[in-house]
């Protein structure tokens, strides 16, 4: 080019393809040949994949032009998809159009008639050499080889330029391959000049509400990934035996919509006020927030929703079928409620005088006030459920029911208490825990001034111990053969019992009761932990050291060792299948549920069991399957971007002071107390991560650098025509709702 006019080159590429570096490489190659050069790109808000232009000027004299190149001598096209009509219209005559294309020059006749065209399959060469990926190939150095060949630049000069810029290896071999394989041709026809329409349109003013944000850039076919939305199962929902939409009602409380929260709960459980008080809350054990600070206090929130939401108007039965439910514990109540809501006439049979089963007989009033129990039972009955209390049914009665009703559900709970032989036969000093609780409730038994030992580690043990205090016991102790942290009772209840002054002896097993003296003595054995047993816990074994046996004086002993089913009501030879349906009967379908069938031992499991029975019965009677569809995978903790949330301690509900409550059956826990400055239930509900379920937090929308997220009825949608697949939305979604899929 000695003494020739300045040459100007325009490079058309996409962000990430290395167009500006290619300009620099061409300029450097000429610079090393002693030329004045200039290389620059047109910079925008940097977007990978966005169309961009870079320019090179080469001259023998100092270059004083700093404008963008308008009429290039040559055009280099790094990505064929950028070829639009008129792309080369402003090009000077006899220049080269050098295209990254697997096809021969002639195949580009449409846009470059009458021009000199060179093509090289730079993408294949670059990908083969490991320069970028097929989706995002870095073709700049490869293209430089083709450019050198077309410009009659010795390949060694180009390689010197590369070396100057510290490009070697694959870049150099790719350039050489392109140098050798570029095809050139002068296309037939005449150069057609297409006037490119200027894009200067009306500019919206700063005060124009439609000014909007960033200008959108159409991504067309070059995005390699796209964001999609999914719904995962929140771990709390997954962990709820009753099947509650836990996340849903917590979100509603967070929005102060207690009616909606209660409505969500009543979809699956008629006893939210009870569960909000006595549930061991497996949802809280499952809560992902416990991986971050503390689980959300779901139980207190449920209680708040049940106590503050308005109950909806009950429906009346509209179907013809009558269904019998035996047992008015949580399973029977749940089945009755769901059957009634499905339109069935329900007759509910209860052996006791009042409804409620274990809710009434087994849970002391200081944990579950009778008005709460009454309120929820009454709501169930308002659905047209006919209750028959004081109606203890025998096996024969049950069989009779199967001929009178369209279906029968038996949920008679646990009635046989487990016991151990403490020697000396039936001592007057020994009670069964469940009987004791019943007597406290009905006959107002007193233990004034007495010393009481409770044996066991479950909820009944804790309930019996705390009730004993409340009926006047002077001194209450619990002995448990395993360790404190292995007690199956609800953690909080254990702590409350200790706070009330009950002493718990762990790793102690009773041997016998010496009831012959003036005062009974319980002879005890210290235990230690051995190998794991079938439950996966270390087996307690007797400590063999000398002083491992000791005596505890007392006035009475309460056994709380658990209960078992009394299956005498069932027809002989019947078999529980699928946890529910009973086989081998001639009459109407008979189902069993609750602790009676499953012995899971919690109110929530019984509620779930009752609901399942109702759905079974409905399917049997109507053919309609209302069972929940198989749910999505559980949102594991690693799906949650926890650091986005600020650390916040769990809010506990209020509680009566230990000293004030230990002699009273007034409810110990008072729940969340609002004041003008604080709504603890709402604040606590807002701690929920909403794992795996979009709650329209707008974070994806706010962080999308392209502004291609749109709000719609389902939350958000993506404008894929403008989405570049950067994945910022998926990274920023705190709850694992957005994921990237390969295109």
């Amino acid at each position: 080019m000695g003494g020739e006019a300045m040459i100007e080159i325009t490079i058309c590429g996409r962000g990430g393809q290395g167009g500006v570096t290619l300009a620099k490489l061409i300029a450097t190659t000429y610079f090393l040949r002693g030329k004045y050069v200039q290389a620059f790109g047109v910079y925008a808000a940097e977007r990978s994949g966005a169309p961009l232009q870079a320019f090179v000027r080469v001259d023998d004299d100092e270059i004083t032009n700093h404008n963008q190149v308008r009429e290039p001598d040559h055009i280099v096209v790094l990505d064929r998809t950028l070829i639009v009509p008129g792309i080369a219209s402003a090009m000077k005559t006899n220049g080269w159009v050098i295209i990254n294309s697997p096809d021969p020059p002639e195949s580009h006749q449409e846009h470059f008639a009458g021009m000199r065209v060179a093509t090289v399959d730079a993408t294949s060469i670059a990908v083969k050499s490991g320069l970028g990926t097929r989706a995002v190939p870095i073709v700049n150095t490869t293209m430089s080889g083709a450019i050198a060949k077309v410009f009659d630049l010795p390949i060694d000069d180009l390689l010197a330029g590369m070396e100057h810029l510290q490009f070697g290896g694959a870049n150099a071999t790719s350039a050489r391959e392109a140098f050798d394989s570029v095809q050139t041709a002068t296309l037939s026809g005449k150069v057609e000049h297409i006037e490119r329409v200027p894009t200067n349109g009306e500019v919206p003013g700063l005060l124009d509400p439609d000014l909007g944000g960033m200008p959108k850039i159409r991504t067309g076919s070059w995005a390699t990934r796209k964001p999609e939305r999914q719904r995962l199962t929140p771990p709390c929902n997954h962990g709820c035996p009753a099947g509650n939409d836990v996340r849903g009602f917590v979100e509603a409380v967070g929005k102060e919509d207690y009616d909606q929260a209660l409505g969500i709960l009543l979809e699956t459980s008629p006893l939210p006020g009870i569960c909000g008080r006595v549930c061991p809350a497996p949802c809280m054990d499952a809560c992902n927030r416990s991986e971050y600070d503390e689980s959300v206090n779901i139980r207190e929130i449920e209680r708040y929703a049940a106590d503050h939401g308005t109950l909806p108007t009950p429906t009346a039965p509209w179907r013809e079928e009558n269904v019998a439910v035996i047992g008015s514990g949580p399973a029977g109540l749940s089945a009755s409620y769901h059957l009634a809501k499905l339109g069935y006439h329900v007759n509910l049979f209860e052996g006791e005088k009042e409804l409620g089963g274990v809710l009434r007989t087994g849970i002391p009033e200081y944990r579950l006030p009778r008005d709460v129990l009454g309120r929820e039972i009454s709501f169930i009955l308002q659905h047209g459920v006919k209750a028959h209390s004081g109606c203890f049914l025998s096996r024969g009665d049950l069989l009779a029911l199967t001929h009178k009703y369209a279906a029968v559900f038996a949920a008679t709970g646990l009635r046989d208490s487990r016991t151990i032989n403490l020697g000396g036969g039936d001592s007057k000093s020994v009670f069964q825990g469940i009987d004791f609780l019943d007597r406290v409730r009905i006959s107002g038994v007193r233990l004034d001034g007495k010393s009481v030992i409770v044996i066991g580690g479950g909820n009944t043990a804790i309930d019996a111990a705390r009730s004993a205090l409340r009926v006047g016991a002077h001194h209450v102790e619990i002995v448990y053969r395993r360790t404190l942290d292995q007690m199956p009772a609800i953690r909080e209840e254990i702590k409350e019992a200790i706070d009330e002054g009950i002493k718990i002896h762990e790793l102690v097993s009773p041997i016998r009761l010496d009831d012959n003296g003036a005062r009974p003595t319980l002879i005890c054995q210290r235990m230690k932990l051995g190998e794991e047993d079938e439950s996966g816990r270390p087996r307690p074994i007797a400590d063999t050291s000398e002083d491992a046996q000791f005596n505890m004086g007392c006035d009475c002993v309460i056994l709380a060792l658990g209960q078992t089913q009394d299956v005498s009501i069932l027809p002989e030879g019947s078999e529980i299948s699928d946890g529910q349906a009973l086989l081998g009967l001639s009459g109407a379908p008979l189902f069993a549920g609750g602790d009676f069938a499953t012995n899971e031992g919690t109110v929530t499991a019984a509620i779930g069991s009752g609901r399942k029975a109702a759905l079974h019965i409905h399917r049997t009677l109507s053919g309609e399957d209302l069972f929940p569809q198989p749910s999505e995978p559980v949102a594991a903790p690693d799906k949650i971007t926890m650091h986005i949330f600020s650390h916040e301690d769990r809010r506990d509900g209020g509680m009566i002071d230990a000293h004030d409550r230990r002699r009273s059956f007034t409810e110990v826990r008072v729940g969340y107390r609002d004041n003008p400055a604080e709504h603890p239930a709402v604040d606590e509900a807002q701690r929920c991560f909403s794992c795996g379920v979009c709650n329209s937090c707008d974070r994806c929308l706010e962080y999308c650098p392209e502004g291609v997220l749109l709000r719609d009825a389902d939350g958000y949608s993506f404008d894929y025509g403008y989405c570049k697949g950067c994945g910022v939305c998926a990274t920023e979604c705190p709850r694992g709702v957005i994921f990237m899929s390969q295109l």
Partner: protein
């Protein structure tokens, strides 16, 4: 000298580093650094440079970056930094402090439009926002001008007759991100050109004092007068520095302004930075067609060289100013300054053109249209907006 192909940012970073390193046998150098587009490469260059005596401290904001420079300079070190646009705006309080403390800090301003709405492209509004700060200001049209002016700035700013900070501006992207051929000086020559940095009022262990305490109006007035007097001495100091620069580097950098073909010109156009390079090409073409037209490249903005402008304009009848900046409610800032220069000259038609704001590409065509408008004029008007296509 090494002839190299580098970006404007690289060239600026190199010049700053050479100047910092040149003080290694005195109290060293220290810079506060905070990145912003399009200046970031300068910060990267400085952070990667291994100074024999000194350091570049990464801070959390531009305000702190200038804070570091103030501290370093008060400790007697050679100090420098760089910023752009809204970053410069955030720095302003300490920018003024640096000047009123009389600290010879050198700052590169890579000109970028002030937002919002966000805009990363060139516009001189950011550095001209500092026109009332006690700082020298220089505007550079090329990579070479940039390197030379940075070295000159240290020399002039640190001169005991001046002792004021200096700002050196270049066009964002058009200069900062463009690869151009430039001669980068050797360290020994920079060592020879720049004397040891001596801040006479630097803080000393052996003579503990405080700086910047309360002063009464009378003292404040006096200090302002001192600053004006220091500004008044800049042209003389600059001229001396250029002469020595030429002796050391064998090349003569531009002074307060560059007048081209103004001697017999009826029409004179004023512009700065790369726009002046485009203008120069246009002037050459029009001269070739017989037009009596010349141009002035404005280089030093503070102190504003009124007498040099008056001399360069000479007997021209029309002066057009290309302002890539906008003072809302008034017009272009270079135009305002030239209007004060031409006070009393009722024979000159002075017209302002606001052009290339927000980074529009000011092509020869655009400049020709402006000149066509100017030469047809019988009288001047309010500043004219010359919009540029995208």
């Amino acid at each position: 000298m090494a002839r190299e192909l580098v970006t404007g940012n690289h060239a600026a970073g190199n010049a700053l580093a050479l100047a910092g390193e040149a003080n290694r046998n005195a109290r060293g150098c220290c810079a506060g650094a905070y990145p912003i587009t399009p200046q970031t490469e300068i910060i990267e260059y400085l952070r990667a440079f291994e100074f024999s005596k000194g350091s570049v401290i990464a801070v959390e904001s531009e305000h702190s970056a200038m804070g570091v420079c103030i501290g370093a300079s008060l400790a007697g070190g050679r100090s420098f930094t760089a910023s752009s646009s809204n970053g410069l705006a955030y720095m302003v309080e300490n920018v003024y402090a640096a000047g009123y403390y009389r600290l010879p800090i050198v700052m590169i301003a890579v000109n970028r439009t002030l937002g919002p709405p966000w805009n990363i492209w060139v516009d001189q509004g950011d550095s001209l926002m500092l026109r009332d700060a006690p700082w020298l200001q220089f505007y550079c049209d090329s990579h070479q001008d940039l390197v030379d002016t940075i070295l000159l700035s240290f020399r002039v700013a640190e001169d005991p007759r001046v002792m004021l900070p200096a700002l050196v501006a270049m066009d964002g992207f058009v200069t900062s991100h463009t690869q151009m051929v430039v001669n980068l000086p050797e360290q020994e020559k920079v060592d020879a050109f720049l004397p040891k940095c001596n801040v006479p009022h630097r803080l000393r262990h052996d003579h503990p004092t405080t700086v910047g305490g309360l002063t009464w109006p009378r003292e404040t007035e006096h200090h302002r007068i001192e600053i004006q007097q220091a500004m008044d001495r800049v042209p003389e100091v600059l001229t001396e520095a250029i002469a020595e620069f030429q002796e050391v580097f064998g090349r003569k950098p531009a002074g307060t302004l560059v007048a081209e073909q103004t001697e017999d010109a009826d029409t004179v156009i004023v512009a700065c930075n790369t726009m002046a390079r485009t203008l120069k090409n246009v002037i050459a073409e029009r001269r070739a067609k017989g037009e009596r037209i010349g141009m002035i490249r404005a280089k030093m903005f503070r102190p504003f060289p009124r007498s040099d402008f008056a001399a360069a304009i000479g007997s021209a009848k029309r002066v057009g100013v290309l302002d890539r900046n906008h003072s809302p409610g008034s017009g272009g800032i270079f135009w305002q300054e030239i209007a004060t220069t031409l006070r009393g000259r009722s024979d000159v038609l002075l017209q302002d053109y606001l052009v290339g704001l927000g980074g529009g590409d000011v092509t020869p065509t655009v400049i020709n249209e402006i000149i066509d408008d100017l030469v047809k004029r019988k009288e001047s008007s309010e500043p004219v907006w010359k919009e540029v296509a995208a």
